[in-house]
Symmetry: C2
Subunit: 150 residues, 2 copies
DNA sequence: CCTCACGTGTCAAGGTCTTGACACTGGGCA
DNA sequence: TGCCCAGTGTCAAGACCTTGACACGTGAGG
């Protein structure tokens, strides 16, 4: 066949390197967030809400790369602990805006500094220029995969 | 506090870009592997076994970034379909070597070409030089996270 | 006006992975 | 020799996420 090319050696596969790095990052984040009683998805929701207050559950799901059913459970846990509040009724459509409480903002601050430390450790071998390049290239890769296959 | 730095805007966070790209890659791989009746972990095991025949379940787990319990289930499914064989007894220690069957090699070939197409699509915006750089930087990030925090 | 498509919230069911635990093998060390 | 430790395979329980489905509110189109 003309399209017989397969994935080469693992050390030469960008996809493998990507999974390896993402897995290591996830594990490291899990480790530093566990003492704060936060899971990675919970932290992600908090971080998103800090930047864009009033986000709905579905928008949160897209931002955290999970399904809206998954964020549903995450928000339940966060709301029970008083870290976020959900509007009782929808001001427009069916979307219920979610907002951070003061306790949520405080928990986020601790979590965010911990995660930032992990990120800095991860990026330590790279300089500022290579870090910027890395971000841009990763974004370009994600964008290329986002549009449907030809 | 002196270490008050938090994660900045999402667009400037390398960690967020990493998760975004990894998530998109996972979804794209899932889409092309589904018609072949393979999950991503199953494909990963096949690919690893092609390169290093006789790998044990635990070694496979480390290579696929999951727990050995997870590979246990994966190998069960693969063995039932006749794609891999497990040695009935351990030649050394307790590790049971796993090997690809001819059917497994054939299934892998189809899967690997499909995954390679996804990888090429992902890397299309990048040139060869930037792709190489991306691989190296991702590997450096993973290595930096692998060693325990100071 | 009515209908239809789209986005959203929610529930139920299922699968997959993880955490935790136990038993076993082989090698290093006193 | 005897002991302990690291690595492995396996089982059970639980958490998490996903797929699938349904009901509801909004806005565009006929």
């Amino acid at each position: 066949m003309s399209q017989g090319e397969t994935v080469g050696p693992l050390g030469e596969s960008a996809g493998y390197a990507l999974k390896q790095a993402a897995s290591a990052l996830r594990a490291a984040m899990d480790a530093v967030l566990r003492p704060l009683d936060l899971t990675v998805p919970q932290y992600a929701c908090l971080e998103l809400l800090e930047r864009r207050p009033g986000l709905s559950s579905a928008e949160l799901a897209r931002g955290a790369f999970v399904t809206r059913q998954a964020t549903h459970g995450v928000l339940r846990g966060l709301a029970e602990r008083g870290l976020v509040t959900r509007a009782p009724s929808a001001p427009h459509g069916r979307a219920l805006p979610v907002e951070l409480t003061d306790a949520g903002r405080e928990a986020l601050r601790a979590a965010s500094t911990a995660v930032r430390a992990v990120e800095r450790r991860m990026l330590a071998p790279l300089g500022a220029e290579r870090e910027r390049r890395l971000r841009e290239d990763l974004a370009a890769c994600a964008a290329a995969l986002a549009e449907p296959a030809p």
